[in-house]
């Protein structure tokens, strides 16, 4: 097991025994900005070296993949998990989108095994932030109907889309990618002690915090019911397999395919909840977070990531 996962478990245990351990919000926001920049910079530096035009097609394919995940999740959530239209649209957006921390844990696990995924994976991370949310918002638009004067103003769906595009994750990831690519490894060496050497330590602190939050959401997770819990495990595994297949189609290494699978399997618990709260006010926000963070994130970090690596090595060349 990777040490960072132990910090996640420590966070869960601390909250389980109702310890008064709280991490300041400013620390959480700082770690988020740090992780996004560190991942972006690292990807950009590598990307500068081997940018190929075929990446453009892959970029579009990956965005379609994110949108498809949300589109497929929506009917499953309605029929199998028996969620109402609003809740189904909201949760679908969570699963169409991605989680940066899951990506970081997956990337870290691969590196501990001495393999490095292709740099374009960081680009794919940034590109998969929004499409799933966009589909969720479009579905929400259909539910509330055009003339029903969606409570948050007529252009609520375009507002949510624009809001997602302006989200700090997309801005920092693409910004980091650009700076990394423009300056390259050598010129950015002086900021490596901050943005590379401290990466795993920051990830460990981040997972301690997420463990506290997950354990704090336990009541919501229980109320979400076993159907949503089952979906929170089964859907990510299926999505991972689809992602690995897509990775192989791109000609990625086993490490690259595994990480694309992990991206598909990851669900957003920051960008999607904020966007859907605005686009689908009727949806119960606790459902999406309970599933995406309480069930899927914990599953991916503890079981999924090693599993997707084994599937990728089996399927891959």
């Amino acid at each position: 097991m990777d040490p960072v996962v132990a910090f996640f478990i420590l966070g869960i245990l601390a909250r389980a025994i109702r310890s008064d351990l709280r991490m300041p919000e400013a620390l959480y926001e700082t770690l988020t900005i740090y992780l996004l920049l560190a991942i972006g910079l690292k990807g950009g530096m590598a990307l500068a070296a081997d940018w190929q035009t075929k990446l453009l097609w892959q970029a579009l394919a990956v965005m379609a993949f994110g949108a498809a995940l949300a589109a497929v999740a929506y009917p499953l959530l309605q029929r199998l998990v028996r969620l109402g239209a609003a809740d189904a649209a909201s949760v679908a957006a969570h699963y169409g989108s991605v989680s940066v921390v899951t990506f970081a844990v997956g990337l870290n696990a691969l590196r501990s095994q001495g393999v490095e995924p292709e740099p374009e994976l960081t680009l794919f991370l940034a590109l998969m932030e929004v499409p799933g949310i966009l589909v969720g918002v479009l579905l929400a638009k259909r539910i509330s109907g055009p003339d029903s004067g969606a409570p948050l103003g007529h252009s609520s769906w375009s507002g949510a889309l624009v809001e997602a595009l302006r989200g700090k994750s997309v801005v920092l990831l693409l910004g980091g990618l650009a700076i990394g690519a423009l300056f390259g490894k050598q010129a950015l060496a002086p900021i490596a002690p901050m943005f590379e050497h401290l990466f795993k330590g920051a990830l460990a602190l981040f997972l301690l915090e997420l463990g506290l939050i997950v354990a704090g959401k336990w009541p919501d997770i229980k109320n979400a019911g076993w159907r949503l819990a089952a979906f929170g495990v089964a859907f990510p595994v299926a999505a991972a397999m689809a992602g690995i297949g897509l990775g192989n189609a791109f000609g990625l290494s086993a490490a690259g395919a595994a990480l694309l699978g992990t991206l598909g399997a990851s669900a957003s618990y920051i960008a999607a909840p904020a966007a859907m709260r605005v686009a689908v006010p009727q949806a119960n926000p606790a459902l999406g977070i309970a599933a995406a963070l309480g069930i899927t994130f914990a599953f991916n970090v503890a079981v999924g990531i090693p599993l997707y690596w084994r599937i990728a090595t089996a399927l891959g060349g």
Partner: protein, 102 residues
Amino acid sequence: MTLNTYPKRQLTIIAEAVLESRLIEHTRHYGAHGYTTSEVRGGGEHGVKEGAWDVDRMIEFKVVADEAVIEALASHVLEQYAANFALSMFLSDVQVLRPQKF
């Protein structure tokens, strides 16, 4: 020498932080000249909001204006958000020294 004071109404809205920008829009739309926001935590019908998670963050939003403005704003916010968001509102009397400012 008693100070001349002028009656106004204060609207206090405790709501999910995600609504702040919309509340500011409505406040301007109904003609109030200003607003004041502070970060709070609390508990009510929609459960405990510790603000530990972005979507759980709550704000206390205060507007001081004439009765008509405050009542219009309050009923609009009630009708628009009360059904779907954690939100509580209460009105109270205040007195100001510079009536034209509010």
